[in-house]
């Protein structure tokens, strides 16, 4: 850097530092603009991630059903979910439904995997506890009310079936055989003793079911026939998800994978609405920043007409005048950009913490981008004011007017 460049820097900095009270408005405009823009940018890029997590917490977004009239086995489910990358698979829960009787009233028994059920049905509200193994049950609220159950109670499920000579009774741990006096047919009463861990509240049909483990249900029904459906929660957006589901459906498996429409569709609707909102806000903020910087620079230049005239009378070329004022604007833009990007991160983080209760990822790329955008915007905003600086006639200014 030669002496000329040093003097140039010295003048630009002196102007900005010693006249800071004048420049503060423009700087503030740039800082506010950069803060809002980088904050919005961060939120915008982070929201799809946050949003997916949020929507997933409202339930599974994929459902597996048997292709034909049959059932789906555990192995088939495992094979199908292996299509999803492990970091995207949040969890899956199989369900098997059977009709049964309790106190001679028909009830629906549902077998499931309690360890993963909250991953696909996070909205389940349980008073008491989730069953942690065999012999324990979760009872829907309506059903519990009907039978007057409360947590800690015990009851038995009964499954009666006809026993023939071929019936293998060894798989049943606890049974009683009796003979129908009229027909002479033998029946077996198979009991499943259950203790009630918790009562389930969902606002949906689940409140009518009795949930038990798949093992208990298999034992009670004397068969492990497989499941009726499985719910899966996958951290992927619509397009991506569709790809995985196609893979599963085109495979030779016996199951059909379908997206759960309600959740995934609304997810992308909200996101695209958010997208246009962000674009509009960005445009407005950019325009406001430019207007503010431009008016400040106008005022600054009007105030400095005499100085400009003097510089010209000292032999300054138009290009030097442009360079000097533009540099002041650009320094302003850069300083505003750096400050704004950091404030923007704090802003985005606060919003994210409040709305999604999770921190936002800081993107280092944000800083250079914010600087470039602020510099470009201030540069653009300076163009018209600087034109008027170039137009200053040294004579008018110095003649003592």
């Amino acid at each position: 850097m030669n002496k000329k460049h040093r003097m140039f820097v010295r003048m630009v900095l002196a102007s900005l530092i010693r006249r800071r009270s004048r420049m503060i408005v423009a700087l503030l405009a740039v800082v506010v603009g950069a803060t809002i823009l980088s904050g919005l940018g961060l939120i915008y890029y982070d929201v799809p991630r946050q949003m997916s997590a949020q929507f997933r917490s409202y339930g599974a977004n994929v459902i597996f059903t048997p292709s034909g009239d049959s059932y789906i086995t555990d192995d088939e489910i495992k094979k199908a979910v292996s299509v999803f990358p492990s970091d995207k698979l949040e969890g899956y829960t199989p369900y098997r439904y059977e009709n049964s009787k309790l106190n001679n009233l028909p009830v629906t028994l549902a077998g499931t995997d309690f360890s993963s059920v909250l991953k696909t049905s996070p909205y389940w509200h349980i008073s008491g506890e989730l069953p942690d193994g065999n012999g324990k049950t979760l009872v829907g609220k309506k059903l519990a009310e009907k039978f007057g159950f409360s947590t800690g109670d015990s009851f038995s499920m009964l499954n009666s079936f006809q026993v023939t000579d071929d019936t293998d009774l060894s798989v049943i741990p606890d049974y009683e055989i009796y003979t129908d006096p009229q027909t002479g047919e033998k029946y077996c009463d198979h009991m499943l003793d259950l203790s009630l861990s918790g009562i389930l509240e969902t606002g949906g049909p689940e409140e009518e079911y009795i949930y038990v483990t798949l093992d208990d249900l298999s034992a009670l029904m004397r068969s492990d026939r497989g499941c009726d459906l499985a719910e899966v929660s996958v951290a992927a957006r619509e397009e991506e998800l569709k790809g995985y589901l196609d893979d599963i459906n085109n495979g030779s498996g016996n199951l059909t994978a379908k997206p759960v429409k309600r959740v995934t569709a609304s997810e992308s609707t909200v996101l695209s609405k958010l997208e246009s909102l962000v674009l509009i806000v960005t445009a407005v903020v950019l325009a406001l920043t430019m207007i503010c910087v431009a008016t400040t620079m106008m005022a600054v230049i009007a105030e400095r007409r005499r100085e400009i005239g003097l510089r010209k009378a000292l032999g300054a070329l138009d290009s030097s005048i442009i360079l000097e004022f533009l540099s002041e604007g650009l320094v302003l833009g850069a300083v505003g950009g750096i400050t704004g990007s950091l404030l923007g991160y704090l802003f985005a983080n606060t919003v994210s913490m409040n709305v999604f209760s999770s921190a936002i990822t800081f993107r280092p790329l944000l800083i250079p981008v914010a600087i470039i955008v602020s510099v470009a915007v201030t540069g653009l905003a300076c163009l018209i004011p600087i034109r008027s600086a170039v137009d200053v006639d040294p004579a008018l200014v110095l003649k003592g007017e």
């Binding site: 030669n2 002496k3 000329k4 040093r6 003097m7 140039f8 010295r10 003048m11 002196a14 102007s15 010693r18 006249r19 005499r306 100085e307 003097l310 510089r311 010209k312 009378a313 000292l314 032999g315 300054a316 070329l317 030097s320 040294p394 004579a395 110095l398 003649k399 003592g400």
Partner: protein, 224 residues
């Protein structure tokens, strides 16, 4: 060849003749005072010489070239290379300190050099004020910074419009001493003043009235 020559220069504002067919020649190294009552056209003449204003009619030659026909760019070069301006209102840049104000003139002329700029300030007796901002300097001190700035690039001609107009007697004497020195170094000086004392010390006095030169004579009491 004369350094500067005005030929039939007229400047008209509507029906008012601020300058009326003025012809004047100035030799290299000459020290001229232009005097006259208020409104007689002194500043107008100065502005035309410094090319801050174009005459309605007539020509102005500097080193034999008609500067009224110069393009903007050539005028800028002319200001930069040939003349030093001393203003009644000083026109210092308010956010630059004394030495930086002098360096600005170097910056546009050739190469800023803080040491040289400090020497120029020393010449006008302001070395210890070099780091002060204009607002921290008295009127006399500001005028001297303005003079240091005008002489830093060793111009052939220094134009000063009422350089002592805002100064008390002590400061006026300091400024006049500086002019004497510049004159001794061979710089041509044109000083507009309505102060007789400032006129007296010049080599030659030109008097204006109603835009016309009414007298032009060598100062009998001029001490080389």
């Amino acid at each position: 060849m004369k350094l500067l020559e005005l030929k039939n220069v007229t400047k008209r504002y509507g029906s008012l003749y601020a300058l009326d067919k003025v012809s004047l020649g100035i030799e290299k190294g000459e020290w001229i005072a232009i005097m006259g009552p208020s409104g007689s056209g002194k500043s107008t003449m100065m502005n035309i010489i410094s090319c801050m204003d174009k005459p309605t009619e007539g020509q102005v030659f500097f080193d034999g070239k008609d500067i009224t026909k110069y393009s903007r760019r050539k005028l800028t070069e002319f200001h930069r290379d040939k003349i030093g301006l001393v203003f009644q209102q000083f026109h210092l840049i308010n956010y630059l300190n004394a030495v930086e104000n002098v360096m600005v003139a170097q910056y546009y002329h050739s190469m800023p050099d803080e040491k040289e700029a400090l020497e120029a300030l020393e010449r006008v007796g302001l070395k210890d004020r070099a780091k002060h901002l204009p607002s921290q300097l008295s009127g006399g001190e500001q005028q001297r910074v303005c003079i240091a700035r005008a002489l830093i690039n060793s111009p052939e001609l220094i134009l000063a419009d009422e350089p002592t107009g805002n100064l008390d007697e002590a400061n006026e004497n300091i400024v006049l001493d500086l002019f004497r020195q510049l004159h001794k170094d061979g710089t041509s000086l044109i000083v507009v003043t309505h102060d007789p004392e400032v006129g007296e010390v010049a080599e030659r006095v030109v008097r204006l009235e109603h835009g016309k030169i009414i007298s032009d004579k060598k100062n009998s009491g001029f001490a080389e």
